[in-house]
């Protein structure tokens, strides 16, 4: 449905929609052929392709062939190859293989990139096969994170597709003896309407060879208005693999002689290895590799390797007492580096003078784990001076460097293949498991698989950093924000600076997920966690905005709009309010309704939620969430909605239950019993609104809607119960405590 205001609304809920599903499904219509096609190029399997190309060499490229060509003038491809053949290959049967260094984490990269290429090339979406994250076949890419697929790689792929289409049409014109301007192309078939019956396909034109580059005056990309594939829902490319169990993840590769490795791990961060007795493991039939504290037991059965690991007696010296999940916040304030300015203007003292009221508060959030369902996994072979590693990673190209360095090979002799990845969320940017597998494959001369246990997954996770935010702010008697003094410790400065109209403001930041943290500041390595920094900063800012609204005696939406001239933000807020049916009221109104908004990587989002708070247990049930998102041009509306729904579901976790428990370097959470992630019964009714903004180039949508979830729930709890939770997660215990204090 498309209301007149240019927004589009989709509703998903656990209840109330069942009646609609009465049509029988076509049963038994499998499409087995398409499984076989995956990764195939011109009828070759990936394995054959690799043999043909060799690691490091691009598929079928004679270097001479490349040198003989002068590079054509090309649309900008920032940081990506200029040769269009790095991105695509057309087989004689017309099937197009698209090569991209991005990986499929579940976010739908495979689908969206196929849509982009099909659009520019004028082939059918179904004609495109994707090869992703294979350093032996795909153009270099810095990694799949930060919602950058469509934002940065998208334009490069568009440009390559447009250039290919331009050259192919010239070739077709020559073959059909027709002026290019007269030609029409659909599904890779070029026809000349002036001479019916005459046609040639892309497949026939290039015969499975690279496209010979030409000097082009221009290779225009399609205007957005001419899109037929982009902007429409497309069936996910990975669907059949994933529902049939055929989808292969890094731990699903089996090679002759494969050994499964389990490694001896320290009991706590900071523990020092002393010695180990591995004799019992060896007696039980496991192979043992030792290199100082790097000790692995290997067996041809993964569970028996695990049993053997249990027989190893290792001694570690534990670190002295440091901090735990309760003292971490004081610890952060003590150990953080000096605050740095992340955006200031006006004069805070002046702002204080014009303030009728001051609101000063501190907001906290704990470490949060990525906890993808697929643990870090890798399968490696090292043979004849060449390594191949199948790895669950978000950064195959930097992993190639790391593996090469770890086993003493040149990077061009290392090939990282990224199969399907079972969730990343920023946590698969470090490739420890792949390095371990490669080292062990080299040491044993056999293929080796390393799959981290759930406990290892928690222990080695690069957590979302714990953080403290302190805000001091003032209100004028007219309900305007007079000044804003913001300090964030530990999380990082992204989107910390407010977008509200504030004459006097200062934003300071110390440390963060990107680094710059002194040793000992954090429990262990911290890193990017879906929308890094921004969950923390949005929680603090939007909670505080609510507190200011309450202080001013104003409706929280009205208060925001009163202090906001950013047109895009006003638009998402107004769209979400309309769908939600927001009724202006002073908080707490008892209804349990909340609002929050934010910006992430040039995407604008606003969220409203309705919650119920159980006064006896402190349990918070989120009943309804409405989320609006403006990412500019929408490439795949249903794909975007999937990401929004996923963000809201995942956001419930950091809002309500997720925090890493630890003490003196030991991570106390080892599995999903103590570390609770969202479940079916937690799911609210979710309604998603896509803001129509095709005039702006697409930016990523896989992260933005998660940033508001903490604040929108905190604000809804305040509206329901009159208590403000300033620490994430808002566990039942914390809610009860707040209720008790009143």
């Amino acid at each position: 449905m498309k209301p007149a205001d240019g927004t589009e609304t989709g509703a998903r809920a656990l209840t109330g929609q069942v009646g609609a599903f009465t049509e029988p499904l076509p049963h038994g219509r499998g499409s087995d052929q398409s499984h076989d096609r995956k990764g195939g190029v011109a009828g070759l399997s990936r394995r054959e392709l690799f043999d043909l190309a060799g690691p490091g060499l691009f598929l079928c490229f004679g270097v001479d062939w490349l040198a003989a060509q002068e590079p054509a003038r090309l649309p900008a491809r920032q940081g990506y190859p200029t040769d269009l053949n790095a991105y695509l290959r057309i087989a004689p049967d017309g099937r197009v293989t698209c090569f991209a260094g991005k990986v499929e984490l579940g976010q739908g990269a495979m689908t969206v990139l196929a849509q982009i290429l099909a659009e520019e090339l004028d082939v059918a979406y179904d004609q495109v096969d994707m090869v992703l994250g294979d350093t032996g076949l795909c153009p270099y890419d810095m990694g799949t994170f930060g919602s950058m697929n469509v934002r940065f790689f998208g334009p490069a792929l568009r440009g390559a597709g447009a250039e290919a289409r331009t050259i192919l049409l010239q070739m077709a014109g020559e073959q059909l003896h027709a002026p290019v301007a007269r030609l029409q192309v659909k599904g890779g078939l070029v026809t000349d309407p002036a001479t019916p019956g005459k046609s040639v396909t892309y497949g026939q034109l290039v015969q499975g060879k690279p496209i010979q580059l030409r000097h082009l005056q221009a290779a225009p990309v399609k205007p957005v208005g001419g899109y037929t594939v982009v902007g429409h829902a497309a069936p996910r490319k990975d669907a059949l693999d994933k529902v049939t169990g055929k989808a292969k993840y890094a731990g699903d590769f089996t090679l002759p002689g494969l050994l499964h490795a389990r490694l001896v791990r320290p009991p706590a961060h900071g523990a020092k290895f002393q010695d180990a007795d591995t004799s019992a493991a060896e007696k039980a039939g496991a192979r043992v590799i030792r290199d100082g504290g790097f000790i692995a037991v290997l067996h041809d059965r993964p569970d028996l390797a695990d049993r053997a690991l249990g027989l190893v007696k290792a001694r570690f010296e534990r670190p002295g007492p440091t901090m735990d999940d309760k003292t971490i916040f004081d610890h952060l304030l003590k150990t953080a580096p000096p605050l740095r300015d992340a955006g200031s203007s006006g004069d805070l003292a002046e702002g204080e003078k014009t303030s009728a009221a001051i609101v000063e508060q501190t907001y906290l959030n704990s470490y949060v784990a990525h906890a993808p369902m697929e643990p870090h996994s890798a399968t490696a072979t090292v043979e004849n001076g060449k390594a191949t590693v199948w790895a669950s990673t978000q950064t195959p190209f930097s992993l190639r460097q790391q593996v090469a360095q770890a086993i003493g090979l040149a990077p061009e002799h290392v090939r990282i293949i990224t199969p399907y990845v079972g969730g990343g969320f920023g946590g698969k940017s470090s490739g420890g498991q792949a390095i371990e597998a490669a080292r062990l494959a080299k040491a044993t001369g056999k293929p080796v698989q390393v799959v981290w246990s759930r406990a290892e997954e928690f222990f080695y996770d690069t957590f979302r950093p714990a953080a403290v935010v302190k805000i001091r702010s003032g209100l004028t008697s007219a309900g305007k924000i007079a000044f804003w003094d913001y300090k964030v410790y530990g999380a990082g400065e992204r989107e910390a600076k407010p977008y509200y109209d504030i004459p006097h403001q200062r934003t300071l930041s110390a440390g963060g997920w990107q680094g710059g943290n002194p040793p000992g500041m954090n429990l262990s390595a911290v890193g990017p966690w879906r929308a890094p920094s921004v969950n923390t900063n949005t929680f603090a800012r939007e909670s505080h905005m609510d507190a200011l609204a309450a202080k001013a005696g104003m409706d929280p939406l009205e208060f925001r709009l009163k202090n906001l001239s950013d047109a895009r933000m006003r638009r998402v807020l107004e769209a979400v309010a309309k769908q939600f049916g927001w009724k202006a009221a002073k908080t707490p109104s008892g209804r349990g309704a909340g609002v929050a908004c934010g910006i992430y990587s040039d995407a604008y989002t606003a969220t409203m939620a309705e919650v119920a708070v159980d006064p006896k247990t402190g349990h918070v049930q989120v009943k309804r969430v409405v989320s609006a998102l403006d990412v500019g041009l929408v490439i795949n509306p249903d794909g975007l909605r999937q990401q929004m729904e996923g963000c809201i579901a995942m956001g419930l976790g950091y809002a309500l239950t997720e925090e890493v428990h630890f003490k003196d370097g030991e991570v106390l959470d080892r599995n999903f019993d103590s570390y609770q992630i969202p479940r079916f019964s937690w799911m609210p009714r979710v309604e998603t609104i896509l803001i129509d903004n095709p005039g702006m180039a697409a930016v990523g949508g896989g992260e933005p809607p998660i940033i508001t979830v903490g604040a929108v729930i905190a604000n809804a709890i305040y509206d329901a119960a009159g208590v403000r939770l300033r620490q994430l997660p808002m566990t039942p215990a914390r809610v009860l405590e707040a209720l008790k204090k009143g």
Partner: protein, 158 residues
């Protein structure tokens, strides 16, 4: 104890030799080469390893292989062998997955539900699926897909 265990796997006889207290998950994945069954937690907490044993959903990471001797075991590879099963088709239609790692377990757990309760209410679906974890947040689509499959099956799964 070292011995040979025989059972029916996806409609065909199967047997494995070895310690009979090894967990079914690992026997399926490494001895029998069926990698559609996933490891997520190893302690019965996530449901990624769900398979069907004698028409019940079980967590194969926590079931010793000796417990399935003589029984009927079905994995995701055994579902819809002659084309997509109704539940699979509904998962495709609703895009009821993202990374897909939880999906085989989700589908088989839903299969067990529909065997017992051919026309579940949304509440029954939620309750039955509660302990299968999905980190990508495909929950609402999974429920929609199961509801649709139940409707399509006209009161049951094949």
């Amino acid at each position: 104890m070292e011995r040979t265990i025989s059972f029916t796997l996806n409609g065909k006889p199967a047997s494995v030799k070895g310690e009979d207290d090894r967990m079914l998950l690992w026997v399926l994945r490494s001895d029998l080469g069926l990698t559609g069954t996933k490891f997520g937690c190893g302690e019965g907490l996530c449901g990624a390893c769900t398979v069907i044993v004698n028409r019940e959903a079980v967590r194969s990471c926590s079931v010793p292989v000796k417990d399935v001797a003589g029984k009927q075991v079905m994995t995701i590879e055994g579902l819809g062998q002659s084309g997509l099963h109704t539940i699979q088709a509904a998962f495709v239609k609703h895009h009821a997955f993202q990374c897909g790692y939880c999906t085989p377990g989700m589908i088989l757990n839903a299969y067990a539900l529909l065997l017992k309760t051919p026309k579940p209410t949304p509440g029954q679906i939620t309750k039955h699926m509660e302990d299968n974890l999905c980190r990508c947040g495909a929950h609402t689509r999974i429920v929609d897909a199961i509801a649709e499959a139940a409707g399509a099956g006209r009161g049951g799964v094949r």
